[in-house]
Structures are given as C-alpha cells and as structure tokens.
Symmetry: C2
Subunit: 317 residues, 2 copies
C-alpha cells in the first residue's frame, strides 16, 4: 500500500502527477485540511508536501500527531516554523538549488525587460505608434548593461547565478550578504552601502523574519532616480507601500517583480504603474526546474518513509 502524503498548499494537478505515481495523495487544494479530510484521516498523516511560503506553524502541526516530515516544493521554507518543527521532531526538507538557474534567469529577464522597457517597446510597435512616428518619452535611450553597477542582495546559489550572468553582460557586480565570500565581486558590508553604490538592486536573499521590509523607503531612495529594484525572493523583503510610493513619485526609475507581499494578490496601486514589469511568481517555473524540484521532493519522501534522514534537509542557519 502506498504511503500517504498530505498536499498542504494549492498546487496545479499537473505538478503532482509524478508524486501520485509513488504515493497516495490527500490533496487539500490549499483549503484547511480539517474541512477536506476527517480527523481520522488526518491523524494518520506522517508526511506532507507544502509550498515554502505557505504559513505552517505549531498549531497547524499539532493537527497531525504522527507528522514526521514537512517537505517543501522549491527552495524556500519561510512559511514553516522551524523551531516548532524541531520541537516536534518533524524533519523539514526542501529543494536546495534545484530552481536556482530558473529563478536567476527570471531575475535577469525582469531586469532587462524593465531597464530596456520592453513592455513599452512591444506596445509601441503593436499599436502602430512607431509606424506613424509618434513620439514616446518612454522610449528615450536608457543606460545599458556594460559598466552598469548591479547590486546583488544575498549570495546563495541564486545570487551567485545572478552575479555570474550580470558579469557576462559586462556590468560591475557588487553584493551584500551576512558573510563575505571568496568571489570576484565587490563586497559591501551593509545593504545601505550597496544601495548607495548600485543602480540596480537584485533581491536574492533568503527571506525570513529578519529580512521583513528591509528594502524600505530609505534603501529605495539610495538607488536614486535612475535606479531599479528586482525582486525574485519573497514579497516580504520589500515594503510594498514604500515601493509603490517610490515608483509613483519617480524616486526610482522602475521595478521588476516576481513576488508580492500577499500572493496571488498584487495591490492595484502597484499593478497600475507603467514602470514595472510583473510576473506571477514564475521564477522556478521551467520544465527542467520542476523536474529537479520534484526529484528532491521524491528523494526526501522516499528516504523519510524508509526511515532514513532527508537527503535535502533544511538546516537552520
């Protein structure tokens, strides 16, 4: 008989197909588990699959007395209360690095699309404005990539891949992270210093309580009027109200966003802005990235049910 796995977050069914071949899935479709399954069914649950951003605290864990493994689909695990899990002897797994290239690539896509104003450009051609030689202030030439100062906030696997890609564009790369790494990029000891130096801030930090709203009005102001911010980490890292204000009053030039404070909602004041390129949290959303993340999920769940330690375990840092 197949082992049971509770699907705790809302995932498209196609993403679950490979898991369904190996495990018996109890899919909540993102609804409260108690509304969908009986207390008896939930009482037997030993493992669950969740999205790292979905809140999962002590109270929720206590609904599942036999729970021994929480496996996150993807790199993030910011929604999981790691202390509560440790106290209950629940192992927490994720997919480290499996989506790093895909996420770094959406960061590059958003940066280039924003700085080269590709939405405006596309519309300028489609509308016939180009053919009729209509002037477009938004199409004025902008700074290019060579020599541009790109600041990377966070130097994990995704940050490193963003930095390597930016270097290939002949840009100068600087970074801020808690520790200085042996890397050929200029290190800044504070986010403030990085923001003063760079004109594009790429947010690639692992999100958590300590990164809540660290990109605030002050940091945005330091980027300046030709500055851009790109966020592919978590919406919580940016103070979204301060971002809307900075974009509206031209404190910064633009933004590229894949993540938002309360997904899947992006505030109307934000989505009405012309100087932003939006993506619906598709950073890790490529075929190869999904396969790699699924491989980690399957390896974690199979190890757990075999009584072994999770091969892709979250280590609290």
């Amino acid at each position: 008989m197949a082992n049971k796995v509770l699907i705790y977050s809302r995932f498209p069914r196609t993403m679950m197909a490979r898991f369904a071949e190996r495990f018996e899935l109890l899919d909540t479709a993102g609804k409260p588990a108690r509304e969908v399954f009986s207390a008896e069914e939930l009482g037997g649950i030993r493992a669950m699959l969740t999205a790292g951003g979905t809140p999962l605290g002590a109270e929720a864990m206590d609904l599942f007395p036999k729970l021994g493994a929480v496996v996150c689909y993807g790199t993030g695990y910011d929604g999981v209360d790691l202390k509560a899990a440790a106290a209950r002897n629940i192992a927490v797994g994720h997919s480290p690095g499996a989506n790093a290239a895909s996420v770094a690539d959406i960061a590059m896509t958003l940066m280039l699309a924003t700085t080269r104003r590709i939405l405006v450009a596309d519309q300028y051609v489609r509308s016939g404005d180009w053919a009729s030689s209509k002037q477009s202030p938004m199409m004025r030439p902008q700074a290019g990539m060579p020599g541009r100062r790109i600041g990377v906030y966070g130097m994990g696997e995704i940050g490193r891949k963003i930095a390597a890609r930016c270097a290939a564009f002949e840009s100068e790369v600087g970074y801020f992270s808690r520790t200085k790494h042996d890397l050929p990029y200029q290190y800044f000891p504070t986010l403030e210093a990085l923001a003063d130096w760079c004109s594009v801030l790429m947010i690639a930090v692992r999100a958590g309580a300590e990164t809540q709203h660290v990109v605030n009005a002050d940091i945005l102001k330091r980027l300046g009027a030709v500055g851009y911010v790109v966020n592919i980490s978590r919406g919580s890292v940016i103070d979204e109200r301060a971002l809307v204000a900075a974009l509206s009053d031209k404190t910064i030039a633009g933004a590229g966003l894949d993540v938002y404070e309360t997904e899947p909602h992006a505030p109307d004041a934000l989505t009405a802005l012309p100087n932003v390129v939006f993506a619906p949290h598709i950073g890790g959303h490529t075929l190869d990235s999904h396969v790699a993340m699924q491989n980690c999920v399957i390896a974690n769940l199979e190890a757990y049910f075999a009584g072994k330690p999770l091969p892709y375990s979250v280590r609290e840092s």
Copy 2:
C-alpha cells in the same frame, strides 16, 4: 567656418546635438535632399551622415559631385552601395562594435522575454487573472536556459557577445558563420545544420544581398515546435511572410524581433500575434551606445575634413 555635413536619413534631433557643435548640419529629416536644399547647396556637400539601412545607391551619390565621405551612424551599412562608392572614390565609415553590447543585450532581452513569456506574465498579474486563479495555457512551464541549445547565426562582435552571455546562462552555444573561429562553441558548417541542432536561433549576421531571406520557411521548420527565432540584425534576413505563417500555425513557438523588412512598418498579421515580443529597432539604443557611436561618427568626419583616412572605415569583405 564649420564644415558642412548633410544629414541624409531621419534622426531624432537630440541624437544630432553633439554633431551640431562641430559641423554645420544640413538636415533633410529623411526627405529627398533635392526637395529640402537647392542644387547649389547640395553641390558643395563633401560629407554626409546616414543610417546604414537607408538606401544610398549610385544615382543618389551622383547628386553630390563633391561627396567624399559617407558616414553611417551605427554598425550597419547595408543600404550603401559600396561598389558605387568605391568607383566614385567616396570613403564609407561606420561605428564598428560601438553598439555591439547594446544590441547583444536586446537580443538577450527578447530571447528571455519571449521564452519566459513575460508579456503574458505581466498581463496575467495586471489583469487580476492571477489573483482570481484563472487558468492560463500560455503560463505553462517552458524549457529553461540551462542546457538549452542556442544557435548564433553570425560571429562578429555582436554574435560573440550574444554567445558569451548565453554561455553564462548555462546554455549550450553553437554557431554558423562563413568561417570557423577559434571559439569555445560548436561550429556548424551550414545554417540548416545549426537550425536542426538548436531550439533558439539568434540572428546576428551582417545583412546584405547574400543574406536576403536566408531564414526562410525551411529554416524555421527545422527549429521545430519548441523553437524560437530572435532577430536583431536586419529585417531582410528573415522571410517575414514565412515567419508570420510559422508563428501562426505553431511551426515554431515564438519570436523576438527588433528589426523588420520595411521599417518602421511591421505587418498587421505579425503584430497581431501573441507569441512574439516586438521592439522598434532599439538594439543600439542605449545612452552609452549612442555616445560610442557618436564618437566614431565625429572621429570619421574630423579625419575626413583633415584630409586623413577614416579611422572607422568600412572594409568590404
């Protein structure tokens, strides 16, 4: 007295500001020179500034008996009849490499925007479809960059910069050009072989009579249903009708275009397609690229008026 320079193509006035400080400009604004200036004025013209794509043949050259230098703004000079110029002892200059990074960057922007479907993604967030969990077939995961086979057609300065950028995205890079270069990318002896191998074709070849419509229905078919074509060279290299057909019937997955057969016009059948990202020939359109191109123009014109050879001269290959 400042030397006179005829502005033969239509350029925004802001782009001409630095030239106006050094030369007396006779600006046709893209109209036939004889409609704008008297025969006497034109008879005295010794140098002109043109856009490389603007047709400039023997007959047009003969309107200016004293013409000794044709200087192209940018890298391209496909509109200039080099044989006719040589027969009249007219030097032809351009701005080699000055915009290579900027053009390579728009190629990367178009490739990433197209393959990651950034127009659809942006609209999915802005429209509220994401917030209301509306299904979007266009948002299905696509192949990512790592391991993707990128074919670069043309290995001049722009092609090399595209190849270096793609390599940083962990893609496999292959190329076709007339000659094999000492480069760490797989060489293909024909465009057909390159198109069979790659899933993204990046057109970076120098355009001319021999490249007219070489990317035709057959080449597009070889790219296949998950294939993309990106053109930042000249519109003439692609058979635009074959491209519209291939995009419409899903022979290929999509395209990213900065150039068109008859600019500034893009056919309605093309601009109506959802699987294309358009840009209005802005490849070289960055602040740093314009400065670099202007430096070449000024150096060419000043050398010419000083009786010296053009430092950035077109060499027929």
